[in-house]
């Protein structure tokens, strides 16, 4: 397990080739470092003393060559070290992350995500730094030290001995200082963690802080930790710096002895001057490697402490193997037998007591009972999400606790109560469970994934098909793509208008030259056409000089800037303090990313008259106004006067563009595809009025019919499957998320299917559809355990188990239990029948 590995493991398992290369570089470097010393001596003793210019040149050149070589090699070894260190760091990060993912639920209930983030992102960094240096630094510097020392002994043993006299003192004192520094460092790591979980806590509970105005209390709590950290860091750094200062003090003491003794020897003629110069510079040069060794020692100690702290924190064994050692995955039929199962947490709190039940393959069981009765817990125990504390749960005779995670994933499908949808496309999320079962990410393996037909079938079954179709219809197709599709869409447009134009007038705002389009942007209302020249694309318009000049001539620039200001003020007023959640920004002309800029703009321009606002800010406001869609951005109304002005300007624009820039904008025509609009708008040749489900239904039905006629339905759905759902699936409704979660499990076709209130966010019709599916398609194929919150769906199950405070009170077929007039009868006919 990764947490048991010592720090040196990462040194040993790094790339051997690089390490050897590094060693060679180091040995040459050390050689190159000694050469200048010898040259120094030769220059003084031979070249200068013998007045030989040719020797002087030669020695100087050799000196230079050695210095250049040593410099170059030093850089090379730094590069190698960095590579080795960073490579090790990314290995630690990846493997630690993989380990953390396997930890039991219990662990995450206690651990804060802030701590995990800071461990993975910042704390491990010192370990990486250390691994990079672990071989190179001690080796280079030790070798250099030894080489210099040997050279000094060769020059004069007595002086050499004298110069090393201070070193033992350092070696004795520094580790003591370091031990204290380590203690402080440990405290530092712990306090930093406390701070990060404190910050996490405050941010999660920020609404309470705001509601209570408890700024002082929170500042005090946080401040307490920061003060603590302040003291610890000062102590930590004092000890570290103390060790350094001490080291350099003793180091500087050296020349004093050397001058005293060396000077005396030289005066007495027992030591030549050149040797003294060489000796002194050798001694000076000792300082660097020695200091680097000291630094390395400190880095090692710090890395050791933080690495140890991290590994200690995550040192929990994953309760289950990820896969069997031989790589085999078991395939079950789905016989489930639960015997005397109990689940106890904390201080003898029994969540499950003596549970017994048997299910044959393909049997379907409904678990009912009040909330807190343990039905969810039981389902989760069977799915190995919780580890039951007593008794036995077996699937086809195999104890669930002993199954590997791969066995579980292959055989059990769980639809959770609040399913989690990950950032990515609909397609990626649908394939999530199937993709997890693949052995690798190779293209051959990917071919095993379900195909488009199968995905479409499942989407229809779970009832998300129409939603995905809708996403496809909302896609904008770029000018040079999908030529064939575009042609067919124009055909559909004509048919749509002919067949349903009148009938759907209430739900669709058709493009009409004479009227203002309340469901289109101001810019689209002005240009009223498809831009052929890029500079007339809607997003380019605010920076199109011709267009801006036109706005001025039409005298609508100022009214628009004013509109932009009003929009910004309202949006900031409503959304100013809310978190960046897609749901809040759907009806705002300002997107999440720009919001802070506009918020700052409002502060900046507060109280200013329109003409006093800077040009850049006016431009930002204009950009916003051009995006305004009155039918969607209802925070501000479109004044009738501006509406009329804009309509007039539309006609004026058509005239001037046709004259000045012929062909730059193709005005809307029934026979031209509009590449700036969505597929839906192209079919409608207009915009749907609002997003009310009722209106959508009406329009959808007609469009589906026409798409089927042109054999385009699947193509559009395929486009829709590339819809990005946003982080945590934020761009989907609760029902859509749940349908997607059911769909991804249905695609996996597990022999055991566990539905934990899986349809609670769905409307009646969708619930019924899924229930019918269970009773037909899955009947006899998968063993189903369904935690049910609504009793009207349970008649179709083979067995019903009624739970109460952790026990199964009665179990049997629906008819049996109703006939018995026990708990189920009471539940069904009792006061809560409506629930």
């Amino acid at each position: 397990m990764i947490t048991k590995r010592p720090l040196f493991y990462w040194v040993k398992t790094g790339s051997m080739k690089l390490q050897i290369l590094l060693l060679i570089v180091i040995v040459v470097t050390v050689g190159a470092r000694v050469v200048p010393l010898e040259m120094q001596k030769n220059i003084v003793n031979k070249a200068i003393a013998m007045r030989r210019v040719d020797l002087l040149f030669m020695y100087c050149w050799l000196y230079l060559a050695a210095v250049v070589l040593a410099g170059g090699l030093k850089y090379a070894s730094a590069v190698l070290q960095t590579y080795i260190g960073q490579e090790a760091l990314s290995r630690i990060r990846k493997e630690l992350y993989a380990h953390i993912l396997t930890l039991p639920h219990d662990f995450f209930r206690k651990a804060s995500s802030g701590m995990i983030v800071s461990a993975l992102v910042t704390e491990v960094a010192t370990a990486g730094e250390f691994v990079g240096q672990a071989v190179a630094v001690p080796l280079t510097n030790l070798l250099t030290l030894i080489a210099f020392a040997a050279y000094m002994f060769y020059l004069n043993p007595l002086m050499a001995l004298l110069s090393f006299v201070t070193y033992p003192i350092v070696i004795i004192i520094v580790p003591r200082l370091q031990a204290r520094s380590n203690r402080a460092n440990k405290q530092r790591v712990d306090t930093t963690r406390k701070i990060s979980s404190k910050i996490g806590e405050t941010i999660t509970g920020i609404h309470e802080v705001h509601a209570n105005g408890s700024y002082r209390i929170e500042n005090r709590k946080y401040g307490g930790y920061v003060d603590q950290l302040f003291k610890i860091r000062v102590i930590w750094i004092l000890y570290k710096q103390g060790a350094k200062a001490l080291n350099s003090f003793f180091q500087n003491l050296g020349p004093f002895i050397l001058f005293l003794v060396g000077g005396w020897l030289a005066i007495n003629g027992r030591f030549d001057l050149g040797a003294l110069v060489a000796f002194l510079s050798a001694y000076e040069k000792l300082y660097d490697p020695w200091k680097e060794l000291m630094d390395f020692y400190q880095i090692y100690q710090d890395a050791h402490v933080s690495y140890g702290r991290i590994m200690e924190y995550f040192d929990v064994a994953p309760p289950h193997l990820l896969e069997a050692p031989d790589g085999k995955v078991q395939q079950f039929e789905g016989t489930i037998s639960v015997k005397d199962v109990s689940f106890t947490v904390g201080n003898n709190i029994n969540l499950l007591k003596q549970i017994n039940l048997e299910l044959k393959p393909g049997n379907q069981l409904a678990l009912v009972g009040f909330s807190g009765s343990g039905k969810s817990t039981l389902a989760q125990c069977i799915a190995q999400l919780y580890d039951y504390t007593g008794g036995s749960i077996r699937i086809d005779g195999a104890e669930v606790f002993e199954l590997t995670k791969k066995d579980v994933a292959r055989n059990i499908g769980v639809v959770a109560q609040a399913p989690y949808i990950f950032d990515g496309t609909i397609r990626e999320n649908l394939l999530y469970s199937c993709e997890a079962l693949l052995d690798s990410d190779s293209p051959e393996e990917k071919e095993k994934l379900p195909g488009l037909d199968e995905m479409i079938q499942v989407m229809q079954q779970v009832g998300i098909f129409v939603d995905v179709l809708r996403f496809g219809l909302n896609k904008v197709i770029a000018a040079d793509q999908e030529k064939e599709l575009v042609q067919k869409l124009i055909r559909i447009r004509h048919n749509f208008r002919k067949e349903f134009g009148e009938e759907l007038e209430e739900y669709v705002e058709f493009f009409d030259l004479r009227s203002y389009l309340y469901f289109s942007t101001v810019a689209a209302n002005l240009t009223f056409g498809n831009p052929n020249a890029d500079e007339f694309a809607l997003e380019q318009l605010p920076s199109n000089a011709y267009f801006l000049d036109f706005l001025d001539r039409a005298q609508i620039k100022n009214p628009l800037v004013n509109l932009g200001r009003e929009l910004t003020e309202q949006a900031v007023d409503i959304l100013g303090n809310l978190p960046p959640d897609e749901a809040f920004f759907q009806n705002s002309p300002i997107s999440i990313d720009e919001f802070d800029d506009y918020k700052a703009l409002i502060l900046r321009t507060k109280g200013l008259r329109l003409h006093e606002i800077s040009d850049e800010d006016r431009h930002m406001l204009l950009r916003l106004a051009l995006r305004f869609v009155p039918g969607i951005h209802k925070m501000v109304g479109l004044p009738k006067m501006l509406e009329n002005l804009l309509l007039d300007s539309r006609h004026m624009f058509m005239g001037t563009v046709a004259k000045d820039r012929p062909g730059a904008v193709a005005f809307y025509r029934m026979d031209d595809y509009i590449h700036t609009q969505t597929v839906l708008d192209n079919i409608l040749f207009g915009k749907p009025r609002g997003d009310q489900p009722k209106a959508q239904d009406q329009v959808n039905q007609r469009i589906i019919q026409l798409l089927i006629e042109e054999d385009l339905l699947e193509r559009v759905v395929e486009i829709g499957m590339n819809f990005a759902v946003g982080t945590k699936g934020d761009r989907l409704s609760g029902g859509q998320k749940q349908k997607l979660a059911i769909g991804r499990i249905f695609l996996k076709k597990p022999p055991v299917l566990i539905m934990d209130e899986a349809t609670s966010a769905l409307d009646n019709r969708s619930q019924q559809r899924i229930q019918n599916l269970l009773e037909t398609k899955w009947k006899g194929k998968s063993t189903v355990i369904s935690v049910v919150h609504r009793l009207d769906t349970i008649k179709g199950f083979d067995k019903v188990a009624v739970m109460k405070s952790g026990k199964i009170m009665e179990i049997g077929s629906y008819e049996e239990l109703i006939a018995r007039k026990g708990l189920l009868y009471e539940l069904v006919h009792g006061a809560r029948a409506g629930a």
């Binding site: 609404h207 309470e208 509601a211 007038e505 705002e509 004479r514 009227s515 309340y518 469901f519 309202q570 007023d573 409503i574 959304l575 303090n577 809310l578 978190p579 959640d581 749901a583 809040f584 009806n587 009155p630 039918g631 209802k634 925070m635 501000v636 109304g637 479109l638 004044p639 009738k640 009025r689 609002g690 997003d691 009310q692 009722k694 409704s733 609760g734 609670s760 409307d763 009646n764 919150h789 409506g834 629930a835």
Partner: protein, 180 residues
Amino acid sequence: MQERGYCMNSFTEQEQGLSEYQANLEIFMQVPLFSGLPLDPLKLLAYLSTRESYKADEVIFQQGEVDGNAYFIITGKARLILDENDSKKVIKEYGEGDFIGGLSLFCRTKRLFSLQAAAKTVCLVLTREKLEKTLEQFPGITRKILEEILATVYQWEFRFVTEYGRNCSSCLGALGVSLV
């Protein structure tokens, strides 16, 4: 079509120059369930809620359905209907300014009645999802709304007891909602 306009603003709103959001905000400030709340959550509710229009006789919600919406009638009127084995009983009629279905915002219950537009009707609609988004941001207000709901239930039963209770012996057995 041209005179239809983009939203279902009543004339008075347009005359006053209010945006739909501002008009919604004024509505929320007069619905008892929400009127006691601070301004910020009200703004968010007004911003997130939508308007829907119904033709005469169109069903707004159906008995047995779990829609989770609350409705405020802006213009028009609607009938509350109890479906009983093929016979439809009109229980009462709601008109402009009535707020319907606050409980279903909080509890996943089936509709016990149907609501049907009796004329062309425009409603302000708040869905459970939108309310939940708001409660997430302002958790403190849940308690206030709960108190308001409980007070309404209490008031209802209080009125029932004082007005009908004594004269309707068959009703007595069904009393006690305020004691849940």
